[in-house]
Amino acid sequence: MTQLLRTEKKLFAAALVLGVVFAGCKREDKPAEGSGPAAGGASGTAGATPGDGPILVGEYSSMTGAEATFGQSTHNGIMLAVEEVNAAGGIKGRKVEIKLYDTQGKTQEAGTAVTRLITQDKVTAVLGEVASSLSLAGGAVAQQFGVPMVTPSSTNERVTKIGDMIFRVCFIDPFQGYVMAKFSRDNLKAAKVAVLYDQSQAYSKGLKDAFVKSFTEMGGEIASEQAYNKGDSDFNAQLANIRDAKPDAIFIPGYYTDVGNIALQARKLGITAPLMGGDGWDSSELPKIAGEAIEGGYFSNHYSHEEQRPEVRNFVKAYQAKYSAVPDGLAAMGYDAARLLFDAMKRAASLSGKDLAQAIGETKDYASVTGKITIDAGRNARKPAVVLQIKGGKHAYVATIDPK
């Protein structure tokens, strides 16, 4: 089978087909121009459902794909909040319904999902996404149509900068980076830290930048800065460089699937320094993949299910009764995002995009599972973060760090 029909033409044809396929995917990044709203759409009412039917709220989450636990946990949290609000009589006498689209963790799917939610399903507001890259894509669409969007857990700074319709109930990466920098300086007494981040994820890159900035400001030294890409499975070259730099700790602000592989390969290379990360580590799958390799690792998160505040106790109890699982941080964030949105809907003068956005923006000291939420002028939530440690495959509470 050595010399076969193989010509440049055929390869070219194959490349052409590939090109067409990829171009086809790319095109979905943005909504079709023809379907956009008229100029000044930010004040439009495209999303408001008329009449007395149920209030339709859109959700876009990664129900399948690489970060599936993120979407599933968030969705569980949202559904719990919906159940509770409907049991208590709904909003303005109307029931709430959720329309969910799966993003598969793909950026291009996020834009498509939000476009469908708004143009076809005519939702009043949008909840989602977890991953910042996807929220950036979906948020641009929501802003364009003037439909308020609340992201439960996208921590990248740029997400709410899209425009006045985009809110979040979580802290932002500059704060999360500060938390882990402070923790490694004060609690771990680390002088030299190496970082390994996913340069293809807005979340990972933003958190890395924030950590590096805070850590150097606190007098620490970055021993080595290494990057990888989504889809990489071999991290030995980066880890070998990190090993040679002899850091006191390693900061890996990635998502749990990659972190698991990185931890396994790091221990194989003989790296014993403690590993640290952000809320992307928050999945019960991480200890299952990495086992003993991730034991003792620290990460910043939105809440700890061990906290004794009544909001946390009630939420953990209700969640366990419904799903027979301990809620992770993303479930709590999904629950909080939905509840905060419903609270704003109750207060809003009408359910038009503009009124609703104003009501969300006026949220102050709202008691939620992940701490008291006040939406600031940048449409971000100001609240404390917790640091957790992975112990025996479970998350143990270590410290709470307040905003600066």
């Binding site: 089978m1 050595t2 010399q3 076969l4 029909l5 193989r6 010509t7 440049e8 033409k9 055929k10 390869l11 044809a13 194959a14 087909v17 396929v21 129900m63 399948t64 794909g65 690489a66 599936a68 636990t69 599933q72 598969q104 340069q199 290494q226 990057a227 990888y228 890409n229 989504k230 889809g231 990489d232 499975s233 071999d234 030995n236 070259a237 980066q238 070998a240 460089n241 699937t257 698991g260 592989n261 396994l264 390969q265 194989k268 799958e285 299952k288 993949i289 990495a290 086992g291």
Partner: protein, 307 residues
């Protein structure tokens, strides 16, 4: 020096994995002149079948499987993927034998999506990543001057080379291989000579899929954190192996072997000595260079196509 030797070892190990997968692409192209995009999913399933079989045997705790258990897992995964490869060809590609090549190519993309998304069903493999139980003991065989020679790397190289030698004999030394080569040169004439063309094509798919399954097993042993079926890791690995097949000269078996190793070398040396996160850039730059200066691949023969 330490780094050089370590990188050399890693390159050969990763390169032989690539070569095993690249062979599947090249064999199918050689015989049907289309690119089987579902091949990377067969590789993914090879890794996941190994996981399922290892779990079924009760592995997963401390310690690792015996040699017999590991062999059963390897052969089991190859068998399952062989059957899968047969079914894919029989159900998806054979009905399109007379259709334009473009239809088959698009069908291949469809099969790929079907496998990825069916694999995510909770009743099947699920959406979560998993930890591959230890099938090859984590032993450092030789440690000299900082270079670690691990059992898993040695086995990856030995098994991959063994399979490639077997394939070499199969294609160039057996009657069946003669029939395969005949079908690849001219299907109509081969059929006139009494060669059962459909059966030979099925056999080619089964062989390619079994090699991909072996690669999946070895990959899972080397990188035990298995990503979920639709993760971009699998697509990227498949793409690199496709690049390996093109660089070596698509349709050429020796080309795929050489291409796989070359891609492994370029990637590992690039990662170790230049910037690690640009490893894919080196691979695709090589592809562009080869396509520019030697479009038919390093070991491929340029042929004029009669129009």
């Amino acid at each position: 020096m330490t780094k050089l030797l370590q990188t050399l070892l890693d390159s050969i190990a990763v390169g032989s994995l690539y070569a095993l997968i690249a062979l599947g692409y090249t064999m199918v192209y050689g015989i049907l002149q289309f690119i089987n995009f579902a091949h990377s999913d067969v590789f993914m399933l090879g890794a996941w079948f190994s996981f399922v079989l290892a779990r079924a045997m009760g592995l997963g705790g401390a310690g690792s499987g015996s040699i017999v258990q590991s062999l059963v897992i390897l052969l089991g995964a190859m068998l399952l993927c062989g059957v899968l490869g047969f079914l894919i060809e029989r159900l998806a590609y054979r009905p399109l034998r007379k259709a334009p090549k473009l239809n088959v190519l698009i069908t291949a993309i469809g099969v790929s999506l079907l496998l990825e998304n069916t694999g995510q069903l909770p009743q099947l493999l699920g959406k979560q990543p998993a930890r591959m139980p230890s099938v090859i003991p984590d032993l450092v065989l030789v440690e000299a001057a900082g270079v670690q020679i691990r059992l898993v790397d040695v086995l990856v190289i030995v098994i991959a080379l063994g399979l490639m030698l077997f394939l070499q004999w199969l294609v160039f030394g057996s009657r069946l291989g003669g029939a395969m080569r005949a079908v690849s040169q001219n299907q109509a004439v081969a059929a006139l000579m009494g060669i059962p063309v459909d059966r030979i094509i099925s056999f080619t798919f089964v062989t390619g899929s079994m090699l991909a399954a072996a690669a999946g097993f070895l990959y899972a042993a080397k990188y035990p954190g298995l990503n979920q079926p639709a993760h971009s890791t699998w697509v990227l690995l498949g793409l690199k192996c496709f690049v390996a097949a093109v660089v070596g000269g698509i349709g050429s078996i020796h080309g795929a072997m050489a291409g796989g190793l070359l891609i492994g070398f370029v990637e590992m040396f690039g990662a170790a000595y230049l910037t690690p996160h640009l490893r894919d850039v080196y691979v695709f730059t090589l592809l562009i260079a080869v396509l520019l200066f030697r479009p038919s691949g390093l070991l491929g023969l340029a042929r004029v196509e009669k129009v």
